[in-house]
Symmetry: C2
Subunit: 127 residues, 2 copies
Amino acid sequence: MSVVEAGGIQFDLDLSKPLYEQVLQQIRGSIARGGIALGEKIPSVRELAQTLKINPNTVMRAYQELERDGLTETRRGQGTFITSNNEVVQDIRNNLALEATKEFLEKMHSIGFTRIDIQRFLNEGDE
Amino acid sequence: MSVVEAGGIQFDLDLSKPLYEQVLQQIRGSIARGGIALGEKIPSVRELAQTLKINPNTVMRAYQELERDGLTETRRGQGTFITSNNEVVQDIRNNLALEATKEFLEKMHSIGFTRIDIQRFLNEGDE
DNA sequence: GAAGTGTATTATATCACTTAATACACTCAT
DNA sequence: ATGAGTGTATTAAGTGATATAATACACTTC
């Protein structure tokens, strides 16, 4: 449903969250899961804006945050490239996992689930 | 930090999310984890607003959502009471857990974690 | 020099959230 | 009956984040 591909990355935007945040997360996810090679070039700001039918400023905001995190390197006049530093990628991947886990456990504890309950819950989900 | 108690419920508001959502979640959490007895009365709209130093309309919005979910019953002129129907409470608790789990697994998968990786991650967090 | 990059700026519009003030309907204790 | 305390509705206003639009500048490559 409204999935768009650009530069080897899948984009699926909706209205549940800010657009710049979704663009950021989906590129970051693609890098973290190895869906895009290190050193690779990603679409230009204008190109991605046109493909996703959103404003260049909105794409820019996502790109700037990626660079701040060290996930991309931007070269004026050339474009934006995924970092070649695999260590940075793994660190960020690890951090994302830690944060997701922490948030999950906090939520479960706040509604009265113990560690054992949670284990059971996760195993039930298997098929 | 800035934890306030009202009607046997702990409130801790910040600016990370809408106030009405935090009030809703914290009351709901208290019910789900059994921190407050079924049938119990919770603070009046005006009283809670004053205690939390927020607008009565904001409290109202949280209370209305609680009632829509069947977690509370409101009696005009009397107040707002936690439902006495334990089944409803357990259903909602279960739903919250399911949603939290689904969101967590999706996030982890999106950054390339397999089921086994996730198991390992959760166990590492133990002490 | 032209085309394509990233980047900055200014203005505008929209929407969610929050507050404020006020009023009404109801219940209960007195 | 009255008054105090309930939930509820309405209208108005302000604020901030988000997104768009239009434009301009600096840089790289061909």
